[in-house]
């Protein structure tokens, strides 16, 4: 980009930013292109040509106008104004490329403030030259800007680069789709209004973006079987990039451990198979060994975060020789730890399930009933129903199964819950 604009750092940066904003606007509808960075580069070049021509026109105009207007800053190119491909290439051959000698204040005004940022721009190009070993991962880091709230970073990145729909993101955050739509809109608005630049951060600023990147990757993984290999690929690159970040290791471990059991989650008819009933011989034992190894490596850092703890729990399940030999006290302990470092309703619900195996369903039911704000979540009702069923309170169990059934998002889950409901005899 810098070469393209004839060494004009400001123009290159501004056009890259424009291209990014256009991506934010159009990718959610049109999908992420196969080569996102190439797309951005092409778009940024078109924007540059657009600006160069405009600057030339403006220069001509300004020459006629009084000097008083010369200090006006050139209006920023509006999104969606990218000229079509036909313009590409023409400007440079026409000799219209800027060489920093544009005579009017519009361009020079920018250059003055730009002097101070040049150092940053140089650094940025070095990052692009290979610090982050993947275009998509680079863009994810660029999108996760810490001036946005963590949830906004994650939601926006998932929408623009993760291939998730607003409805899917809303489900992941347990909020209505409309609410998520508004949050996404506000995040995009804030990027524009506050002057947030979406660019690949220099290496020393990567760690502060890591929490959002981790959530983005796990939610891409959770989207489904088709996205899981890509999410694992990105998590591997992340581990390569930040080998000493235990949470990155924890994330990859968690993905591998979950992925290793993928083949047994549904039976031949597409029905849900509970963990206890899965055929453990069909699990991917190499994947489990790798995941468990990574998890241990992460925990040795002595900074156990949410992803490492979830991976450790997944490892307990995956390495148990049989369902009956599952180390439930260990799992319940890990959930207790997880609830302290990452308190939340979902963790509390999972912890209750583990407690039901160590202290019995009555103790677990008390924990479930203490959970607030999860009434719209089908698994809360499914867990509650299961606990009631185990306490022989079949009529109440049936009621909870019906609620769960009404809220369940997938056909496989609805079939499973229907079967359980029928089993209650109510």
């Amino acid at each position: 980009m810098i070469r393209f604009t004839g060494g004009d750092w400001d123009l290159a940066e501004e056009c890259a930013q424009d291209a990014f904003m256009q991506a934010l606007r159009t990718w959610p509808e049109s999908g992420v292109p196969d080569q996102p960075l190439a797309w951005l580069t092409t778009t940024a070049r078109r924007k540059a040509i657009d600006r160069i021509r405009r600057a030339a026109r403006e220069a001509a105009k300004l020459a006629e106008v009084a000097a008083a207007t010369a200090s006006r800053v050139a209006p920023a190119a509006q999104d969606g104004e990218a000229p079509d491909g036909a313009v590409l290439g023409g400007a440079v051959q026409d000799g219209e490329a800027p060489d920093g000698e544009a005579p009017d204040g519009a361009v020079q005004g920018g250059a003055v403030q730009g002097g101070a940022v040049q150092g940053g721009a140089v650094q940025e190009s070095e990052v692009r030259d290979g610090e982050i070993p993947d275009e998509r991962l680079e863009l994810i880091f660029a999108c996760c800007h810490p001036a946005l709230a963590l949830e906004a970073q994650v939601a926006l990145t998932l929408r623009c680069l993760g291939g998730l729909s607003t409805a899917e993101i809303a489900r992941a955050f347990l909020v209505p789709e409309r609410t998520m739509g508004q949050r996404l809109f506000r995040a995009k608005q804030r990027i524009r209004h506050a002057g947030i630049a979406l660019r690949v951060p220099p290496p020393h600023l990567l760690p502060e973006r890591l929490p959002a990147v981790l959530y983005v990757l796990i939610l891409i993984f959770d989207k489904g079987t088709a996205q899981a290999p890509e999410a694992i690929r990105l998590a591997r690159l992340l581990v390569e990039l930040m080998p000493d970040e235990p949470e990155a290791l924890g994330l990859l471990a968690l993905m591998l451990l979950h992925d290793a059991r993928r083949a047994t989650r549904l039976d031949a008819a597409g029905d849900l198979v509970l963990l206890a009933d899965q055929d453990r011989s069909r699990w991917d034992h190499d994947g489990i060994a790798e995941g468990a190894g990574l998890c241990e490596r992460a925990l040795r850092h002595g900074r156990a975060g949410p992803f490492q703890l979830q991976a450790a729990i997944a490892a307990c399940h995956a390495t148990a020789p049989s369902a009956a030999e599952t180390d439930w006290p260990q799992i319940a302990g890990l959930y207790g730890h997880l609830a302290r470092v990452d308190p939340g309703e979902i963790v509390a619900l999972n912890r209750a399930v583990a407690v039901s195996m160590t202290d019995g369903p009555a103790a677990a039911l008390r924990l479930v009933d203490a959970i607030d704000r999860l009434d719209g979540y089908h698994l809360l009702h499914a867990v509650r129903a299961d606990l009631l069923r185990r306490l022989d309170r079949h009529e109440e169990a049936a009621k909870s199964y019906r609620t769960a059934l009404r809220l369940a998002p997938t056909e496989a889950e609805r079939r499973f819950l229907s079967g359980r409901l029928a089993g209650t005899g109510h």
Binding site: P75, D79, A116, Q189, H193, G195, I196
Partner: protein
């Protein structure tokens, strides 16, 4: 892009923590780089005057508009490439170490109205 940088002090502040930058150095660095347009420390909130016009009458109150623990102790106007640069400038200000700094982007009068441009109001 221009930002109003509000420098807010904690009234219970006990002084600058160790390692905080020097204000004189900050001013000269940012002026030199062309990132600071203008700025000043201000008199305390007790010296403030609030002005309202209601029913055509000018109503004055001595004191600040809002009761707040952190009060404005000064301001700077920054001219930065983007928020990242403004954050860098703010983080180097000594009051970021003891109080709070708020960055407010200027309202961009040259731009088209919001919403029309995007057409995607939820």
């Amino acid at each position: 892009m221009r930002y109003l940088m509000l420098v807010c002090v904690d009234p219970d502040d006990t002084g600058q923590p160790e390692g905080a930058p020097d204000i004189e150095e900050w001013v000269s660095e940012m002026d030199q780089k062309g990132l600071r347009v203008l700025g000043s420390r201000t008199r305390p909130a007790s010296d403030a005057t609030t002005v309202r016009v209601r029913d055509g009458r000018v109503l004055l109150t001595d004191g600040p508009y809002a009761e707040a623990r952190d009060v404005i102790g000064g301001f700077d106007i920054l001219d930065c490439a983007d928020l990242d640069e403004a954050i860098e400038v703010a983080a180097k200000h000594p009051m970021a170490w003891a109080g709070v700094i708020e960055l407010r982007p200027f309202w961009p009068f040259e731009e088209k109205e919001e919403g029309k441009e995007e057409g995607e109001q939820p």
